[in-house]
């Protein structure tokens, strides 16, 4: 399979200190790839190497199937990025900063500037100098700049920093829209796992400079079915039905009314149908799935143990 972005055994050492080691990332075209990891795990280091700001000590970065070299620059015409925090020419207005960006990128579809400012809710402040912008407005302007030239790949390091809840929702929807309508591929790092969970198609987890796991959100959801909890009138009878009729043995009677089933293969529909057929009255039945946070904590805990 060909990838828009791929890193092969990416390693970075500075003054003998290993910042990241053997990181392999595979980002498919059109997907939103969430890059998650605790503070200091090496997310920004990897992103700096992807954007060629830092040079790998070992390993390679491939963008659009072509290895990135020291002098590579043409490939950045197809990319947008924010690394660490967005920087601007503060004395210039937001509109002029975007104009300047278009000039350097060689992008001459100038209608895109007001459109993008409108999309990011900055039309009203477009002609104010950036030094008067709040942190959230600067973040929005940084995102506007990253997506303005309709790049094929957008690399965003903690793009939701400084945004209020309404802003978060708006940006989330914008990323999804750009991904589905324009086929833009996103690589987004965030320490907010709920954010990644809500937008990412694939998640890469990094901890202590090592890539722990790269997995699709679908797989996480399947793997993370934790248990089904039943509340019934008669637990004894229900336990009999689960054992004899549904051949289940991985369940636990918690008290007089509650039973927990730890079997990912059985569905809530099957359980409720069988219980009803056998005259067991159900008060409630709920499927509990683990969040990305649970999965993340489990994965990073494993790495910490091995370290």
């Amino acid at each position: 399979m060909s990838y828009v972005l791929q890193t092969n055994h990416l390693t970075k050492r500075i003054d003998g200190k290993e910042l990241v080691n053997d990181v392999n990332i595979h980002v498919k075209k059109g997907e939103i790839y969430g890059f998650a990891g605790p503070n200091g795990a090496g997310k920004t280091t990897v992103m700096k190497m992807i954007t060629n700001l830092w040079k790998p000590t070992e390993g390679t970065v491939e963008l659009f199937g072509v290895p990135l070299e020291n002098t590579s620059c043409e490939v950045f015409r197809r990319m947008g990025s924010i690394i660490e925090f967005p920087t601007f020419y503060e004395h210039m207005s937001g509109r002029d900063n975007l104009w300047l960006h278009c000039e350097y990128m060689g992008y001459y579809h100038r209608d895109g500037i007001p459109e993008t400012l409108e999309m990011l809710g900055l039309a009203g402040a477009a002609d104010q100098p950036v030094k008067k912008y709040s942190l959230g407005m600067k973040q929005r302007l940084g995102i506007a700049r990253a997506v303005l030239c309709r790049p094929e790949l957008v690399v965003l390091d903690e793009p939701t920093n400084g945004l209020d809840p309404a802003g978060l929702k708006q940006i989330r929807e914008l990323f999804k829209m750009l991904s589905t309508e324009y086929g833009i591929t996103f690589l987004i790092s965030s320490h907010l796992l709920s954010e990644i969970e809500s937008i990412a198609d694939t998640v890469g987890i990094i901890s202590h400079g090592k890539m722990v796991r790269e997995v699709s959100m679908e797989e996480i959801s399947e793997m993370n079915t934790a248990f089904i909890e039943l509340s019934v009138e008669n637990t004894q009878k229900a336990a009999y039905v689960l054992t004899e009729k549904l051949n289940l043995d991985r369940f636990k009677v918690l008290d007089d009314v509650r039973i927990r089933i730890y079997d990912a293969t059985v569905t809530t529909q099957n359980i409720s149908r069988e219980l009803l057929l056998n005259g067991v009255e159900i008060v409630s039945i709920t499927k509990h799935t683990g969040s990305l946070e649970d999965y993340f904590l489990k994965m990073t805990a494993e790495v910490e143990k091995s370290c």
């Binding site: 015409r77 601007f88 060689g106």
Partner: protein, 234 residues
């Protein structure tokens, strides 16, 4: 390259530097005018108090404009390049589809062109003022230039070329130490090196020295950009 230079001027608010260069030139003109015709540097008895070899108008103009514009060039190079590293706008620049060396060269050339033009125009304006003034007032310094001679213009251009190019040495120090202040202090040290007298000896009187200085300056300019493609940005 021309487009990159234009963009450098635009994003660094070149209008501000034009205004400052005009103010600086006006102040230099007033100062030279006062020294030449009002005798503000004279002894109380009215005789000229000047260092050996500094009793002509041209040496006076070259010294003060050279000093002022070497510092001005260093300040601009610091602002365009060293500060861009400090405030991380260089990180943004290096994510554009333009070679890093080309970006740095465009920044250096944009400052060089501006200051060369400003220095030449400033000197011309001051020489013209003194020339006009000398027709009406007695001069305390010897008026030793001929504005009708082509060699006057050739010398003026060559000396301006050397002075502005020296800014690259200051830039190298500023980039190496990642400090705008270091670049500006270096430009002051360069003034002492080139203009100071040790007994009767002064570098400024040596004919080979400007040539050597220009070669060294461009050597520093090359050193400032030669490893930039391979270097990590902080």
């Amino acid at each position: 390259m021309l487009k990159l230079i234009r963009l450098e001027w635009k994003k660094n608010n070149i209008g501000k530097y034009i205004r400052n260069a005009v103010i600086l030139s006006a102040l230099l003109c007033l100062f030279v005018f006062a020294l030449t015709f009002l005798g503000i540097a004279n002894d109380p008895d009215g005789t000229l108090d000047a260092a050996p070899g500094m009793d002509t108008v041209s040496s006076l103009i070259e010294l003060f404009t050279g000093m002022a514009f070497l510092i001005f060039t260093s300040v601009m190079l610091s602002s365009f390049i060293v500060s861009a590293y400090q405030n991380k706008t260089m990180n943004l620049m290096f994510t554009y589809p333009v070679r890093r060396q080309k970006i740095l060269i465009s920044q250096m050339v944009s400052v060089w062109i501006f200051n060369f033009a400003a220095l030449v125009l400033s000197k011309l304006a001051i020489y013209l003022c003194v020339f006009i003034g000398s027709g009406f007032m007695p001069s305390f310094f010897a008026v030793d230039f001929d504005m009708g001679s082509p060699s006057f213009y050739l010398q003026l251009i060559l000396k301006s070329f050397v002075i502005v190019s020296m800014g690259f040495m200051a830039l190298f120090v500023g980039m190496a130490l990642k400090s705008s202040k270091a670049a500006i202090i270096t430009s002051f040290l360069l003034i002492f090196l080139t203009q100071a007298n040790v007994g009767d000896f002064t570098m400024s009187g040596n004919a080979v020295f400007p040539f050597v200085l220009t070669v060294i300056s461009f050597g520093f300019a090359v050193l400032s950009i030669c490893h930039v493609e391979r270097r990590d940005l902080s």
